[in-house]
């Protein structure tokens, strides 16, 4: 496990960049995934004079020919197969683990503090009787990317509308993406990731998990080609948000289309620390997620006190009834 992680980190270091768009090529890439340019040849096998040759099997000396059944060049006598460099599509591996800086005790204390700070509608005995069922340190996985994008967009907005409420607009923008995080986690919800994402220091990445015992270590569950699709999708979504925030005039939009030309897309695969806490209140299980580097970032659910809500509802109804009564009396 730790071995493959340090391996992955090593691969990240000796990459070459695409000559056309600056995006780092990864081991086994035959072409750039962004602009399609072929990877430069490592070994120089250019011929300078015309040669005629027969490829021979290193095992038995018979001629080697391509066989569609094996989909590889093979020797028809001894059945050995010649390996050809093909496109590799390995499973994604994390490139490093960010360290835990929040201890388990601090996380537990944070839970109690959070429970008592929730407000009046929660049960009064919540923080006193809620029992931490399980506190599990977790490394969840995400891609972090940097990229330069030239974005062209077109949309309808309410700005400049004449008879119709909508008017067409178009434009271009240069957008720089810096340390954008796209979750690959199966265990955390999108809402939880959004809360946690801002509380990490990316420079604390280590080759091995550090700072927590018995942690759950999430894996990237996707192959490289699928990962690239997900990153591209996240970039597209980010570009849409940026364009809506700062490019389109007006306040209401529809039919927004964006088209991106990406350059220098650098993707890192990292594991982020968090605590997942399950706590029980009156037999019911609730869940809270706390950032592993910033305990104030948390996301969870908690019970409401039904008795208190009913009491308030009754009080409101009673008040309304009383007012109505007053009105009818005065009339």
């Amino acid at each position: 496990m730790s071995d493959s992680a340090s391996n992955a980190a090593h691969v990240d270091r000796d990459q070459t960049d695409c000559l056309a768009c600056g995006t780092p090529l990864e081991r086994g890439d035959l072409r750039c995934a962004i602009c399609g340019k072929s990877a430069p040849l490592g070994r120089n096998n250019l011929t300078t004079t015309e040669v005629v040759k027969i490829l021979r099997c290193t095992g038995c000396g018979a001629a080697v020919a391509y066989d569609p059944k094996k989909q590889a060049p093979s020797c028809s006598f001894c059945d050995s197969v010649v390996e050809i460099e093909t496109l590799q599509d390995p499973m994604e591996q994390t490139g490093g683990y960010l360290v835990f800086t929040v201890s388990a005790e601090e996380a537990k204390a944070q839970l109690q503090q959070w429970l008592s700070s929730l407000g009046w509608f929660r049960p009064s005995d919540l923080s006193a009787t809620a029992r931490v069922q399980e506190l599990k340190p977790l490394w969840w996985v995400a891609w972090v990317f940097d990229a330069d994008a030239r974005v062209s967009w077109a949309a309808d907005s309410n700005h400049g509308g004449r008879r119709s409420a909508w008017a067409p607009h178009a434009g271009t923008a240069e957008i720089v993406f810096d340390d954008i995080l796209a979750s690959a986690s199966k265990g955390l919800s999108a809402a939880e990731v959004e809360v946690l994402a801002s509380g990490y220091d990316l420079t604390t990445a280590r080759p091995n998990p550090e700072g927590a015992e018995n942690a759950t270590i999430e894996q990237f569950d996707v192959q490289r080609s699928q990962a690239r699709k997900q990153v591209a999708q996240a970039l597209n979504e980010m570009a849409r948000i940026r364009v809506q925030q700062s490019e389109i005039p007006g306040s209401k939009f529809r039919k927004l289309q964006v088209s991106l030309v990406l350059q220098n897309l650098v993707t890192r695969r990292l594991s982020f620390p968090a605590y997942v806490m399950a706590y029980r209140y009156k037999g019911q299980l609730y869940r809270l997620v706390i950032g592993g580097q910033n305990k104030t970032l948390l996301c969870g659910n908690a019970p409401y006190s039904q008795a208190k809500i009913i009491a308030v509802a009754c009080a409101v109804i009673a008040a309304l009834a009383f007012i109505l009564l007053l009105i009818s009396v005065t009339q």
Partner: protein, 313 residues
């Protein structure tokens, strides 16, 4: 004299078999040869030049000869009823499985476009009509109207994986008919991949192939722009595309070629089979006799129908 002209037409290359030493004559575009005496597969490697670059990638054959023959037979069987009878009966003649040279083209496309964008709005209008009692009444209704606004803008995108033929033996249309290839199966070119098979060098110039690729790239931009337009509708979409950062790689694609000779007086018809996916492509000859008979029958039925209809009145 005649021998002279033939020699000029095809400038055969002479190579000697590295296995049995016999001299072989090879067509100038071929990258491989199979010795007729000892069946040894030779590979010819030439230094790259401007119009003859070294192949960068190959896709290996997946479809075997038997499967290709099957695919072509069933394709001919399924061809249109208007196809010439001789064609439907003809037995396809397998000529060869060949690694066809083609260029894989990628570029950034920057386009300036202008169009009129239709934005719909509703309007209440009054109109007069006669009601069931025969009186004239005024009513209102809402109608959807379209306001046309002009829009001018830029569009930029990557154009990826355009494949264009580099062989004079196969037109770009014929290659398009058996596309797409699954480019995930691309392999780095290695002489071992084409050993034992026929493989060609490019016989079209790079300029010509670039022109094909430009054309396809501009078409791709056009179809992307259609989806890019805001508004409820659009008209008069015009665009001009500049391409930048072009890259072009020579790829050898696996193709089974068949010839169907259905008429002594005509050159045989070319049918291609995608050696990776088994997709069949070719132009089916339409029988003018069959088409005119069908037209005549339809006209006759219409005439008879009109006549009967006229008599009944």
């Amino acid at each position: 004299m005649t021998a002279d002209t033939i020699e000029k037409k095809i400038d055969y290359k002479e190579i000697s078999c590295q296995s049995c030493g016999s001299n072989l004559l090879v067509e100038p575009q071929m990258l491989t040869a199979i010795c007729p005496y000892c069946a040894s597969p030779s590979i010819i490697q030439r230094p790259p030049s401007e119009d003859l670059p070294t192949p960068a990638f190959t896709i290996g054959f997946v479809v075997t000869q038997d499967r290709a023959i099957e695919a072509v037979s069933s394709w001919i069987g399924r061809s249109s009823v208007f196809a010439k009878s001789a064609f439907r009966k003809a037995a396809p003649e397998l000529t060869r499985g060949v690694y066809l040279p083609a260029y894989l083209y990628n570029a950034v496309a920057n386009s300036d476009y202008r169009a009129e964008i239709g934005e719909n709005y509703t309007e209440t209008e009054t109109y007069t009509t006669t009601d069931s009692d025969g009186k004239t009444v005024t009513k209102t209704r809402t109608v959807i109207k379209t306001e046309w606004r002009s829009l001018q803008g830029e569009h930029c995108c990557y154009i990826l994986d355009v494949v264009v033929t580099a062989s004079k033996g196969v037109t770009n249309e014929a290659l398009e008919a058996v596309e797409p290839f699954d480019l995930r199966a691309l392999r780095r070119f290695s002489p071992a991949m084409i050993s034992g098979w026929l493989a060609e060098e490019p016989s079209r110039t790079q300029d010509e192939c670039f022109r094909f690729a430009h054309g396809e790239a501009v078409d791709k931009v056009g179809s992307q722009l259609k989806g890019f337009m805001p508004g409820d509708s659009y008209r008069n979409l015009q665009y001009e595309t500049d391409v930048a950062n072009e890259s072009i790689d020579l790829v050898l694609f696996p193709i089974w070629t068949f010839a169907v000779r259905y008429d002594e007086t005509k050159p045989p018809l070319q049918i291609l089979v995608n050696g990776q996916t088994g997709r069949v492509g070719g132009k089916v000859p339409i029988s003018p006799v069959k088409v005119s008979i069908a037209v005549a029958v339809v006209v006759f039925i219409l005439l008879v129908g009109a006549l009967l209809f006229g008599m009944a009145r």
